[in-house]
Amino acid sequence: MAFKLNVNGKVREVDVDPDTPLLWVLRDSLGITGPKFGCGVGACGACTVHVDGQARRSCTLPVSRVGDARITTIDAMAADPIGKRVQAAWMELDVAQCGYCQPGQIMSATALLTKTPKPTDADIDAAMNGNLCRCATYTRIRAAIKQASGQKA
C-alpha cells in the first residue's frame, strides 16, 4: 500500500504493508538508520523519533497511523536549534559508550527541553524513563541535559 510521509521536512513515498512499524519504513524503505531497533515493543526507546514534536517509539507505531504528521529523526536534529544544543552537550561531556541508544536519548531529551527549557531532576527522570542505556551512561545523560538547558549539573 502506498503512503506519503512527511519525514525530516520532505515528503517521501513508500509502498509497504499498513501494519509496518514506522521504524522499519524509516530504516529499510527510506535508508534512515538513525533510529535504532532495540526491543520492538516500545520498552527501550532506541527507536525514538518526534511525531509532531512529541517523542514517540517508532517500533510500535504502524505506518498507517502516521498520516500527515511531521516525522523528525535524529538525522535532522542538527537543524533543530535545541537538538543541536543537546548534541553539542552530548559531545562535550562524551556521554556515549557504545552509542547505540544515544540517538533515542537525544530525541527524548530534545523533546523535553522543547517543552520544558529548564527541567528539574524529576522532569528529567520522567521524560527519560522510556530510554534504556545498557551501558548505563545515565550520569552523563543527566549532566548533558542540564548543560544543554544552561543549568549546573
Partner: protein, 728 residues
C-alpha cells in the same frame, strides 16, 4: 610479546579491505570527507599512514563495543608518534591476523596487552620519519627531535613536517622496535589527557556505524527461528505459508548441528524487508522435535543443588589447614546458603550480521567482539578456507561478553550462501534473550568461624555449579585462589556439579560478578558475628603482608588496602552512624582483571521494602597510568550501575528447557530515575596499566546488599534482591 610491524604498503592495506567488493558507500558516508583529506597518504606500517598535509590516519585494530578502544588504542600510537591529536584520524581495521594480532574485546585486556606494543608502533613510525629527515639533511638521527608532527634539527632549528617526510620513508629500513626508546610519561600530551570518543560526532547524529546499519546493494533481510529448547531440531514448519507472505523470497530449514556455540537447527525466512521476513516467520507454525533437555528447569536446578550440597563434594578446589577443627574451636560460627541466577547480556543492538557469498568467497560485516574465531567457525561450518572469508568489524551496540560468541555470524553466512544474495540477518530482542550464552547461575553453601579476637578462623564453601564431574561449564568455575583463600590458615573450597543443556558464557567480569557477591557478603556476616566495623574487619583480614600467595599469582593486599582506605575517606564511612533510620552504607572490595576495586554504596529501604540507591563511591587501582580519563570514568560508572541492575532486577528462568523471559518487560534494565551518582577515584600506584571494562562491576553488588543489611538488619543471600522480604 609479539609485535607485527609488517611494513605493509597502502596498496596491501587496500587489498586487504576490498576483497569481495568492499563496503557500500552509504555505510561509509562519514568517512568520505576524510578520504579526500588524507589523499596520497603514505603507510609507515600497518597502523599509521601520513598524508602530505600532515593528517595522520591510525588504524583501530580491536572491536569497539563501547569500551572506548577505538580512541584509547590509537592514543597510545599517537603519543609516541608525536603528533597533535587534532591531526589524527582513526579508521577501524578489518579482522586481519596477517596484519594485526589479538583483535578481540574481552577480559579488560586491551590496555594491558597493547600498551607496550602500540606505543612502540608509534615510536617506530616516528623513528622512520626522523631517519628520513636525517638522510635528507645529511645529519645523524640523534641530531633531530620531533614535536607535534614535525622533525626538527636541534642545532639549526630546521624543520620538516611528517607530511613532507612520509614519502621518503618508503626505502628506509624499519627500525627494531625493541631498540627505540619510549617517552618519559611526564612528557605525555595525549595519554592521560581526556579525549572524547573519536566517533562521538557520528554517534550523536545517528550516523550508520553499527552492524545493523550495514547496507549492501541488492541486500535481502533475514530472520532465523530456533527452538525454544536449546538445540532442538525442526520437526515441521509451514514453509509454503511463509513463502506466500508478500515480500518473502525464501524460507528454508537449516539442519544445523548440536554444538550450542555453532550453527543450530532452525528455520530461515528471507525477504525484501525485515518486517516482511518477520511476518513470514509468524506463520511458520514451527514444531520442534523432542530434546533431551526439554524438561530442565531452574526449579529443578535449585532442588538438585540442595541435594548435592547435602552430599559429599565431587571436587576439592583447595584445602588449607583443618577447617572442621577450626570451626569447632571458633567463638562464632556462621552458616549461610547463597544463590544467584542465570543472567542475559542484552546488548541493546540485537545480534546481526550481513554476509555476501559470491564466487566461492564470503564477505561478512559483523558486530563481533571476537571476529577471528567467528571466521574460523564460518570456515569450518561452511567447508570453506578461512582465507576466502573476510570479516569487517563494525561498531558494536554493546558487547558485555555476548559477542565473544559468533553464532549470529555463522547463521548469516549459511543463510546468505543458501540465498545466493547478500543477506542481513537480524535477531529480534526475544531471539537475543532466549538464545544467549547466559551468566551461569550458582549456589554456595558456606560455613565460617570467627575467633574470640575477632579474626576469621575458618572458611568453608561448597560451591554447586554446572558441568560434569570436575569439568565446569563456560564461566561457571571458581579458582582455588579466590579471596579470602591464602589469607586464612583454615580455608577449604569444594565443588559439585550438575549437567545443564543451557548455553553459558562470560558476562562482564565473569566469575567475579557472582563470586564477589557471595564472598563479600559472607565476610560481612562474619564481621557482624564478630561485632566489628565491616570495613575495619576487612582491613584486618587483608593483613600486613603486602603480597600474598605464589609470586606468579600473588594477591596484592597492599593495593587493596590502598583502595579500601581511599573509599573509606571518600564515602564518609566513619560518619555512617549519623544516617537516618532505614539508610545504611555497605562496603565491598574485589580483585579481578588485574584491577583492585573497593566500593561503598549508600542505600535506604522504605516500609514497603523498596530499595533506593543514593550514591556509589569507587576507589580503583589499575596501575600507574589512566590512558583516557574521560572514557575511564565512564567505564567505571557504567559498570557499577550495570551491577545494580543485576542486584535489583535481573533473573533468567529456565522452564520446560527454555528461557521464560523475552524482553525488557520481564527482564528489566535499570533506568535513569534509579541510577545513582557514582563518584570515582583512581589510586595511582607504580604498576603496569590495566583494563577498566569489567573490574568495577563485581564489588557494587555486595556493597549494595551489605548496605541493605546496615539499613534493615536483613541479609540478602539470593539475587536478585527480593524486596518483599524487606518490608518493615
Amino acid at each position: 610479546m609479539t609485535l607485527h610491524l609488517t611494513g605493509a604498503s597502502r596498496r596491501d592495506l587496500l587489498k586487504a579491505s576490498v576483497v569481495g567488493g568492499g563496503l557500500v558507500l552509504s555505510f561509509r558516508i562519514a568517512a568520505k570527507a576524510e578520504a579526500a583529506e588524507t589523499a596520497g597518504a603514505q603507510a609507515l606500517n600497518a597502523y599509521v599512514r601520513v598524508a602530505p598535509n600532515g593528517i595522520v590516519t591510525i588504524m583501530a585494530k580491536n572491536p569497539e563495543i563501547g569500551q572506548g578502544v577505538k580512541t584509547s588504542l590509537p592514543m597510545m600510537i599517537a603519543e609516541e608518534l608525536d603528533v597533535a591529536w587534532e591531526n589524527v584520524r582513526i579508521e577501524q581495521a578489518d579482522n586481519d591476523p596477517k596484519l594485526y594480532s589479538r583483535q578481540f574485546a574481552g577480559g579488560s585486556l586491551a590496555t594491558p596487552m597493547n600498551y607496550e606494543d602500540l606505543r612502540r608502533v608509534g615510536a617506530v613510525a616516528r623513528a622512520m620519519l626522523v631517519n628520513a629527515a636525517a638522510q635528507a639533511w645529511n645529519c645523524a638521527s640523534g641530531d633531530c627531535k620531533t614535536a607535534e608532527g614535525q622533525v626538527i634539527h636541534v642545532a639549526t632549528g630546521r624543520k620538516a613536517s611528517y607530511g613532507a617526510l612520509a614519502g621518503q620513508c618508503a626505502g628506509l629500513a624499519t627500525p627494531d622496535p625493541k631498540t627505540i626508546p619510549l617517552k618519559d610519561p611526564k612528557a605525555y600530551k595525549i595519554i592521560g589527557h581526556p579525549k572524547a570518543q573519536y566517533d562521538v560526532a557520528r554517534i550523536v547524529k545517528g550516523e550508520p556505524l553499527f552492524g545493523i546499519d550495514v547496507r549492501v546493494p541488492g541486500m535481502l533481510y533475514a530472520t532465523f527461528e530456533k527452538a525454544p529448547v536449546f538445540g532442538a531440531k525442526v520437526a515441521s514448519a509451514d514453509l509454503d505459508a511463509a513463502r506466500a507472505v508478500k515480500g518473502v523470497r525464501k524460507a528454508f530449514v537449516v539442519d544445523g548441528g548440536t554444538d550450542l556455540s555453532g550453527l543450530l537447527p532452525g528455520v530461515a525466512v528471507v525477504a525484501d524487508t525485515w518486517w516482511a521476513a518477520r511476518k513470514g516467520r509468524n506463520v511458520l507454525k514451527t514444531q520442534w522435535a523432542d530434546h533431551p533437555t526439554g524438561k530442565q528447569s531452574t526449579a529443578g536446578f535449585d532442588r538438585r543443588a540442595a541435594e548435592l550440597a547435602a552430599g559429599s563434594p565431587m571436587t576439592t578446589l583447595r584445602n588449607d589447614g583443618d577447617v572442621a577443627a577450626a570451626l569447632k574451636g571458633s567463638a562464632h560460627v556462621v552458616e549461610a546458603a547463597y544463590a544467584y541466577p542465570f543472567l542475559a547480556h542484552t546488548p541493546l543492538e540485537p545480534q546481526n550480521t550481513t554476509a555476501h557469498f559470491k564466487d566461492g568467497k564470503l564477505e561478512i560485516w559483523a558486530p563481533s567482539q571476537n571476529p577471528e574465531p567467528g571466521r574460523q567457525l564460518v570456515a569450518k561450518t561452511l567447508g570453506m578456507k578461512p582465507d576466502d572469508i573476510t570479516v569487517h568489524m563494525t561498531r558494536c551496540g554493546g558487547g558485555f561478553g555476548r559477542r565473544l560468541s559468533n553464532d549470529y555470524m555463522v547463521e548469516a553466512a549459511w543463510i546468505a550462501r543458501e540465498t545466493g544474495a547478500p543477506v542481513k540477518l537480524l535477531w529480534t530482542r526475544e531471539d537475543d534473550m532466549r538464545h544467549d550464552f547466559y551468566r551461569p547461575a550458582g549456589y554456595h553453601y558456606l560455613k565460617g568461624g570467627v575467633d574470640a579476637a575477632g579474626n576469621v578462623s575458618a572458611w568453608h564453601d561448597h560451591f554447586v555449579t554446572f558441568g560434569e564431574g570436575a569439568q565446569v561449564a563456560s564461566s561457571a568455575g571458581m579458582g582455588g585462589n579466590e579471596f579470602p583463600s591464602r589469607f586464612l590458615a583454615n580455608f577449604r573450597a569444594d565443588q559439585s556439579t550438575m549437567p545443564a543443556g543451557v548455553p553459558m558464557g562470560p558476562l562482564r567480569a565473569p566469575g567475579s560478578n557472582a563470586l564477589a557477591f557471595v564472598n563479600q557478603s559472607f565476610i560481612d556476616e562474619l564481621a557482624h558475628a564478630a561485632g566489628a566495623d565491616p570495613l575495619a574487619f576487612r582491613m584486618k583480614l587483608l593483613g600486613d603482608t603486602p603480597l600474598v600467595g605464589d609470586k606468579s599469582s600473588a594477591y596484592n593486599a597492599a593495593r587493596m588496602k590502598g583502595v579500601l582506605a581511599a573509599v573509606e575517606k571518600m564515602s564518609g564511612w566513619k560518619d555512617r552512624g549519623k544516617l537516618p533510620k532505614g539508610a545504611g552504607l555497605g562496603v565491598a572490595f574485589h580483585y579481578s582483571h588485574m584491577g583492585y576495586f573497593a566500593e561503598v554504596v549508600k542505600a535506604s529501604v522504605d516500609a514497603a521494602g523498596a530499595v533506593k540507591v543514593h550514591k556509589v563511591w569507587i576507589a580503583a587501582d589499575v596501575g600507574r597510568q589512566i590512558v583516557n580519563p574521560l572514557g575511564a570514568i565512564n567505564q567505571v560508572q557504567g559498570a557499577a550501575i550495570e551491577g545494580l541492575s543485576h542486584a535489583l532486577y535481573q533473573k533468567i528462568t529456565i522452564e520446560n528447557g527454555a528461557t521464560r523471559q523475552g524482553n525488557f518487560g520481564d527482564y528489566p534494565l535499570i533506568r535513569m530515575k534509579d541510577s545513582p551518582p557514582v563518584e570515582v577515584k583512581f589510586v595511582i600506584t607504580d604498576y603496569p596499566p590495566t583494563g577498566l571494562g569489567e573490574p568495577a562491576l563485581p564489588p557494587v553488588i555486595p556493597a549494595l546488599t551489605n548496605a541493605i543489611f546496615a539499613a534493615t538488619g536483613k541479609r540478602i543471600r539470593s539475587l536478585p534482591i527480593d524486596t518483599s522480604q524487606l518490608k518493615a
